[in-house]
Every structure is written in structure tokens, then in C-alpha cells.
């Protein structure tokens, strides 16, 4: 131990601990946790769908339909928040000028809506 450490011992620090209810203390924290939570029902829905595909039939069609309706707002909320952040994430230039974040977000939503329509029409076309 150095002479300095003997004469000046390190101060006793108070270690701050994150309270368990931290996510209830701020609206942004709550919405963030909600956004992360929406992944859970969506993952369950996807596993259910994969199971039904492996069985080549809907095992419990009514229950799956009800659960799908329950999951829809979660899916919409998750997609909405994810796509809204695209303007912050994607940083591209066209003709040496940065593309506006609003335009990037609008393009993401357009792709999302377009993709949904294409898949929807494809499913209708494939339906017996």
C-alpha cells in the first residue's frame, strides 16, 4: 500500500441501485418497456403458427383466431414504434445531400403497407 493510500483511504461510496419499478417513473420508460413487451405475444403467436404449419392444419382455429386478434394491436404498436425510429437510424445521402428523416420514415411505412397488401392479396389468392 502506498503512503498516499495510508494517509488518504478511498472514500466509502454509496452504491446506487436501480429500483425494480424504474419503468413506472417516466412515461418514456413505460412506453419503452411496453414496446419491448410486445415482442413476447408476437413470439408466442409465431411459434403457434410454426406449430400449425408443421401440422399442416390449424390445430385450434378459433383459439388461434382470437389470439391473433389479441396480438394485432401489439404487432401494430411494435411496427409503428420500430418504423418511426428509422429516421434516426438510417443516414443516407442522395447527390451529396442527406435524405430527410421524415422521407425515410414515410418510405418505411409505404414499404410496410405495400408489403402487407401484397402478402394479403397473395394469401387471398392462395385461399381454397
Amino acid at each position: 500500500m502506498s503512503a498516499d493510500a495510508e494517509t488518504h483511504p478511498a472514500p466509502r461510496l454509496y452504491r446506487w441501485r436501480m429500483p425494480a419499478n424504474w419503468w413506472t417513473r417516466n412515461r418514456h420508460y413505460f412506453l419503452y418497456v411496453l414496446r419491448e413487451f410486445t415482442s413476447l405475444p408476437l413470439a408466442i403467436w409465431l411459434l403457434w403458427l410454426l406449430y400449425d404449419i408443421s401440422e399442416t392444419r390449424l390445430v385450434q382455429p378459433t383459439a388461434f383466431a382470437v389470439f391473433s386478434i389479441v396480438c394485432l394491436p401489439f404487432a401494430l404498436y411494435h411496427s409503428w414504434t420500430f418504423l418511426s425510429l428509422a429516421g434516426s437510424i438510417i443516414h443516407i445521402k442522395v447527390l451529396d445531400r442527406p435524405v430527410s428523416p421524415r422521407l425515410i420514415v414515410a418510405s418505411q411505412f409505404a414499404l410496410w403497407i405495400g408489403g402487407t397488401l401484397v402478402i394479403g392479396l397473395l394469401l387471398l389468392w392462395l385461399a381454397p
Binding site: Y14, R25, H28, Y29, H91, P98
Partner: protein, 246 residues
């Protein structure tokens, strides 16, 4: 007209006596509409309790020393006006997510270590001699990183970040924003030196985009944006054959 008064509740913690921080109330005159929380603390220290400890320096939102939790929100106390809270009381606490040394003073060692680790300075592979002239930059080149260079290292973003609160191994918002500031600078060639720190599991990938760091930044820096853009750049550098450039 009776003099206006306001109650300030400040954290007190004496490591030699207290097991945990506690709040102490001070009733002070609110004599000037331009008074800020830092003025209130200075009034307490000068007139009521000289033992109150806190950091401050410039009083004009430049030095980044006086960051504290003001009614639960990370703020520069030199920029938090009493008029925005009066007649409610104001609770002033040390910045969340950091160890407390005494009263409102936090231990900034962890942040200073992280800041240094990303080498927030211009790195050149080979220095150009002074006689060779300046490194020219256009306004567009400067615009690429300008907002990230506004960071004053006040650590409010760390106090607002629940990811850092839950795992203090996380590199954190300000250090990543400053790494990006230099990586985007056309004069800099240090990306590969910073990447092992920034691209580590405890670096950008630990961030789950809460976004509160950008909300509380007093200088309008958007660290969440810096982190997400760095994630995208790092991925592209990994995926694209030409991406692993110098």
C-alpha cells in the same frame, strides 16, 4: 407583497456517518425570477449550511459540472429555473446510476474511463507536417458530425439511461456519441482503433434504444441516434465486402 419562498430538498450523505443518503429540507427566499437551482444551492451553502457539497463551475451550461436529478429528471442545475417549479418544492439528488461520494457529488471515474477508451480525439495514421497546410473541410463535411461535437460530458444521458443503470459495463450514450463524432470527421483515421470498444457486446449492442438519453441532453445532442447509426454502419461494414474499409 410577502417575499416568495421555495423549499429545496437536497440529498445529504456523509460517508463517515450515514449508511444511506437522506433528504434535508431548506426554506429559501425566491427573490429573483432568474434564479436557478444552482443559485438555490449556492444560497444554502452561503447562508444556511456550509457543509452541503456539490459540483459546479461555469453557471452557463458549458462546463457540464452541475448535473443533478431535479425532481427526478437529470438536469444541469444552472439551467433549471426555480420559476418552472414554484410553488412546488424542488428535490435535488445526485445523478442516478452513479456511486455517491458525498451529498450531491457523484463518482465520475467510470465515465472518465469510458470516455478515454473511445479515444475522443483526431487520430492520424501519419501526421501531416504543419507546413503542408490545413485539412480542408466543407460545411457539409462538418454537418455530418457537428451535433455530436456539442457534447459537454455532463453525464445526464448516463443518469437517464436504464440500460447503464442495470449494467454499468455498458459503454453508454455520451462516449458512443463522441466516438461517432470523430469517426465521422473527415480528418480522422481512427475508426479501427475505436471499433473494438464501440462494437463490443458492452458497446453499441447493449443499447436497446430507450431514447431517454437524447431527451435529457441539454445541448441537443442525439446519442441514441449516434448509437443506432453506429450499429447500422458496423453491420454494413461486416456484411458488405467493401465495408471493412480503413
Amino acid at each position: 407583497m410577502p417575499d416568495k419562498r421555495i423549499t429545496i430538498r437536497a440529498t445529504r450523505y456523509d460517508p463517515d456517518k450515514d449508511q444511506a443518503p437522506r433528504l434535508q429540507s431548506y426554506d429559501i427566499p425566491f427573490y429573483d425570477e432568474s434564479m436557478v437551482v444552482l443559485d438555490a444551492l449556492n444560497y444554502i451553502k452561503s447562508n444556511l449550511d456550509g457543509s452541503l457539497s456539490y459540483r459546479w463551475s461555469c453557471r452557463m451550461g458549458i462546463c457540464g459540472s452541475c448535473g443533478m436529478m431535479v425532481n427526478g429528471t437529470p438536469k444541469l442545475t444552472c439551467n433549471a429555473f426555480l420559476r418552472d417549479y414554484w410553488p412546488r418544492s424542488i428535490t435535488v439528488q445526485p445523478l442516478n446510476n452513479f456511486p455517491v461520494i458525498r451529498d450531491l457529488v457523484i463518482d465520475i471515474e467510470d465515465f472518465m474511463h469510458k470516455l478515454k477508451s473511445v479515444k475522443p480525439w483526431i487520430i492520424r495514421k501519419q501526421e501531416i507536417p504543419l507546413g503542408a497546410g490545413e485539412h480542408y473541410q466543407t460545411n457539409e463535411m462538418i454537418d455530418d458530425f457537428r451535433q455530436f461535437s456539442e457534447c459537454i460530458n455532463c453525464m445526464l444521458c448516463y443518469a437517464a439511461c436504464p440500460v447503464y443503470g442495470l449494467n454499468n459495463e455498458f459503454l453508454g450514450p455520451a462516449a458512443t456519441a463522441l466516438a461517432r463524432r470523430y469517426n465521422l470527421d473527415s480528418r480522422d483515421q481512427g475508426l479501427k482503433e475505436r471499433q473494438p470498444i464501440v462494437g463490443d457486446a458492452e458497446g453499441i449492442w447493449e443499447c436497446s434504444f430507450v431514447g431517454e438519453c437524447s431527451v435529457v441532453c441539454p445541448k441537443g445532442v442525439d446519442p441514441a441516434k449516434a448509437i443506432q447509426q453506429t450499429k447500422l454502419d458496423t453491420t454494413m461494414r461486416f456484411v458488405l465486402p467493401y465495408g471493412n474499409r480503413d
